[in-house]
């Protein structure tokens, strides 16, 4: 039993990168960036990029390039996964490489959906769950790549704050930790740090929850919100049920808010934390990388939670409260057989 000697070269790469980070962090000292909640405009404040007929002016914000990169990466991954699956279909039905990975991943998610929504509605709900989770996962993990939030164009700001700059070579400049009038607008900013992205996803998610509810229960889904069924049989508790239905309507609307702000808040808190720690510690640039590791975890969890909550709400919408009657019918059928 002669094992070939393992050469753990990867740990030396990591150690080398840490040393490089320490040295570079000593030369180019990280500064606290000018943190903005909305996505920054690459062409300067108030400059419009496109003039659309109905929407109006569209600025070139720095989340647009990231959106393009994210979607391209997903398309490329889908292409290779598809090719791998096709190849395995032609040969021996054993998926290898990326096709295998994707199959394991989606099988896990499908089993989760089936356990929560039942075998009947799992094929309807699963695509929304998987798409949202995959998209948010890519959006969250992409912003951890070095170069995001750190390379960009330098703008002059008139009032307050800003840093000095230092010419490196050619058209390249470095931001210095002294007072000055300049700020960095990065080319790439993670899309989940833009409220527009999260609100759009939340709207899609909540609207599709209603659509799935209508598909499952027909027009009877509305009785969840406007509940007149028990109004005349039991006057007092019927009125109570009606009020509870109105509360359901409000909770449905607040789902949009909670979906959007949960993702945005987590991701925004992440970039602020990393930026502040990097700016505070300056030379010691190992701690921000630890925080980046934490960000990796948070990004994964948030992607999972976004998809999972969509799935759970959809599963709830398919059930409704005609639940007991359906069960009674099922029992009746069993007896007839």
């Amino acid at each position: 039993m002669e094992h070939p000697k393992r050469r753990p070269w990867r740990r030396w790469v990591v150690l080398g990168l840490m040393i490089v980070g320490f040295v570079v962090g000593g030369v180019l000292i990280p500064v606290q960036p000018v943190i903005s909640v909305k996505a920054e405009n690459l062409q300067g404040e108030g400059v419009a990029w496109l003039h659309l007929p109905i929407v109006g002016e569209l600025p070139l914000v720095n989340t647009l390039p990231t959106l393009v990169v994210t979607v391209l990466m997903i398309v490329v991954l889908a292409f290779f996964a598809n090719r791998s699956m096709r190849r395995s279909q032609r040969t021996d039905l054993v998926p290898r490489g990326i096709g295998n990975l994707m199959e394991a991943f989606f099988e896990l998610i499908y089993n989760l959906t089936e356990g929560s929504a039942g075998a009947k509605w799992a094929p309807v709900i699963f695509p929304w769950f998987a798409t949202i989770m995959f998209y948010v996962l890519f959006a969250n993990l992409l912003k951890l790549i070095p170069g995001f939030e750190s390379i960009g164009v330098i703008h002059h700001i008139e009032h307050g704050g800003g840093h000095g700059i230092q010419a490196l070579w050619g058209n390249w400049f470095n931001i210095l930790p002294v007072e000055g009038g300049y700020m960095l607008v990065p080319f790439l900013r993670g899309i989940s740090v833009d409220l527009n992205f999260t609100v759009a996803l939340a709207l899609i998610s909540v609207v599709m929850i209603q659509v799935v509810g209508f598909r499952a229960q027909g027009i009877g889904y509305l009785s969840k919100f406007f509940n007149f069924t028990t109004m005349f049989k039991k006057p007092f508790f019927g009125a109570m049920d009606f009020l509870v239905g109105l509360l359901e309507l409000i909770s449905e609307l607040s789902k949009i808010l909670s979906f959007a702000f949960r993702l945005f808040g987590n991701m925004f808190a992440g970039i602020v934390l990393v930026a502040i720690v990097a700016g505070l510690l300056g030379k010691i640039s190992i701690l921000p990388s630890m925080l980046m590791m934490f960000e990796l975890f948070i990004g994964l969890i948030q992607a999972f939670v976004f998809g999972m909550l969509t799935m759970v709400f959809m599963a709830q919408a398919t059930q409704g409260h005609g639940h007991e009657e359906q069960q009674a019918e099922a029992h009746a059928e069993v007896h007839e057989i």
Binding site: G265, N266, V305, M308
Partner: protein, 79 residues
């Protein structure tokens, strides 16, 4: 002593809005406690409990995140 009273108000407001994080901390602690007790009594339910625990944590954490967003909105002069 000189300074901008509006800046002072922003900082105080941001600090006050983060009080809400206390409730989220209690909520997360309670849900983890419940899940851990369940796991200790019945280790077979580990995977199922873990998923639901993370969901519950995400729900209570969202409250703290709302506070955090409000604090950031105040700190970085958005509104």
């Amino acid at each position: 002593m000189e300074g901008n009273i509006l800046d002072a108000a922003r900082f105080i407001g941001a600090g006050l809005s983060m009080i809400g994080a206390a409730g989220a901390g209690v909520g997360i602690g309670l849900s983890v406690q419940g899940a851990l007790t369940g796991m200790a009594r019945n280790p077979d339910t580990y995977g199922n409990l873990l998923t639901n625990m993370i969901l519950g944590i995400a729900f209570s954490e969202a409250i703290a995140i709302y506070c955090l967003v409000i604090a950031f909105l105040m700190l970085f002069k958005v509104v």
